[in-house]
Amino acid sequence: MTTAPGGAAPPLLRLQRAGFGYGERVVVRDVDLEVRRGERVAVLGSNGSGKTTLLRGLLGLAARTGGTVEVDGEPAPSRRSRRRTGYVPQAMTVGGGVPTTVREVVSTGRLPLRRPWVPARREDRAAVDAALEAVDMAEHAHEDVTELSGGQQRRVLIARALAAEPDLLVLDEPLAGVDAASALGLARTLAALAARDTTLLVVTHEVGPLADVVDRAVVLQHGRVVHDGPLVPELLGASDEALERLQEESRLRHQHVHHHEHETSPPPGWVSDHREHRPQPTADHPECHHPGTHHPETHRA
């Protein structure tokens, strides 16, 4: 669970010039992204920016239209990569409404690791117990999931992903549609997971209470990455206007970068449209770190 010195170990997740889409339509293109073990990365973007397609592409739910995707150095999605990646969808799908307990839902997360026809072993039950504990839902284990609040249902979905003991947890809009108190509670749960070195990739249109959890932000705009670096203050609101402004600044930086590199003061960590100007992560500082950068450690509780 540690990064080898000098970056010798392959990153947990590596996308190289990856594109994803549906049928003929390419939604996300040329994405380069590396996520190392223990990192907590937020993928930000407004509606239509392609962040959901990127997530679905990583999970093999949207078609790859170009480039490569690797999980721990192996091409993905494969049976193995799917089992190492825990997916937390945005909302609980309750199907036709056959009553299902919290424990039953969480247990389904363990199925890919279990052999068919064979009853659950002790370690399977222990993994489910641990997952329920991790999201603080153990005392609700025997309740019907449809009777839970939205925030509690999200916890159940997180536990379902954790039951498979994944290396990477991918969350789709974990705070969308829950009240402020539940959002704070969920953020605390994710912070606790982060403290246990769980690698997180959170797709969200708003950082909100997750600011204390994530240590790196990737911003998508019109299907391309326009920022990959620390979570700068401009991103915290991440309203559509803020993102538009960021993109405009990115464009300006691209125009002026050769002549006015010292006069213009772009937000730190910006990716210009020229790949060669992209701040490269280093082994010591996996995220881009610039003097004066707002570093997440400084405001992590």
Partner: protein, 288 residues
């Protein structure tokens, strides 16, 4: 020994009812969860074409119906996955094609309306010992599969996308469920008839849904409800001289109405109690 058990045909009828009552809801619970409650009807219509094909070719109708229905079930699942046609349209085509094929083929085979009726509405007392052996094997296949792979089938039925993302063989499990549905339909056609088959898969689940909190308990209670109503229905049809299929389904519907009304009343009472407690707990000055 009760008089009814002295007749061989009634003993066979009761055993057939027991098998169907157990097996049909064990598949139905996944169909309800997948919102495919009506697929059993479509399969029943296709089974009619299979039966007619058996009559036309002079082969035993049950095995032919089994082959035709299993092939159709697999085709529907593949069309749903890879075709450009919506799932409900595929189902509609199945309904029409199955009935049309059945009616035409039965007529060609020289069958009468009476022959057609025994399959459409069930003729449990005509169950032969050979039928019973086939039904026992089919019921065993269905029960072993739904219990051995129940968690996987439930996972795919509840959240197909998550199942796919986590690496479960979604297509295979969907195909398995389609085949199990086809097998159950053929198994049930003597007891309740092709037009009422779906009822025995779905209504026991609808009853159990009102009373249970877990998937497992819902499945087990639905199987209990299916078995009791099937056996009681067959006995009632013997003493009351009514068709067995319709009698079983009417019992199921009555149970559903009672449990649905009962659970609605309980929910309303709980809600009132909750409001009253809230009212008492709120200081006078803070009440709106």
């Amino acid at each position: 020994m009760p008089e009814v058990l002295t007749y061989g045909f009634m003993v066979r009828a009761l055993v057939a009812a027991l098998l169907v009552g157990l097996a049909a809801p064990s598949v139905g619970v996944f169909l309800v969860q997948r919102r495919l409650s009506l697929i059993g009807d479509g399969m029943g219509h296709v089974a009619l074409t299979g039966v007619a094909l058996g009559l036309l070719t002079g082969t035993a109708p049950v095995p032919v119906a089994l082959v035709v229905t299993v092939v159709a079930a697999a085709a529907v699942e593949l069309l749903r996955r890879y075709g450009r046609t919506g799932g409900d349209v595929v189902l509609a085509v199945l309904f029409y094609g199955g009935i049309a094929g059945g009616v035409v083929l039965v007529a060609r085979a020289g069958g009468s309306a009476a022959t057609l009726n025994t399959y459409l509405f069930g003729a449990i007392t005509t169950t032969t010992a050979e039928d019973l052996r086939v039904f026992a094997v089919l019921a065993a296949v269905v029960l072993v599969a739904t219990f051995g792979l129940g968690r996987r089938l439930a996972a795919v039925s509840s959240d197909e996308e998550h199942a796919r993302a986590s690496g479960l063989p979604v297509m295979g499990l969907n195909l398995l469920l389609a085949v199990l549905t086809a097998v159950t339909v053929v198994l049930s056609m003597r007891v309740v008839g092709l037009l009422l088959i779906s009822a025995l898969m779905i209504v026991p689940v609808a009853v159990a849904q009102q009373l249970c909190r877990s998937f497992r308990s819902t499945t087990l209670l639905a199987m209990g409800v299916g078995t009791v109503t099937a056996v009681v229905g067959v006995l009632t049809s013997y003493y009351g001289d009514t068709p067995s299929g319709g009698t079983i389904v009417l019992y199921l519907i009555a149970l559903f109405v009672v449990t649905a009304a009962g659970s609605a009343l309980v929910r309303a009472a709980r809600h009132r109690g909750h409001r009253r407690r809230h009212h008492l707990a709120t200081p006078v000055g803070e009440q709106a």
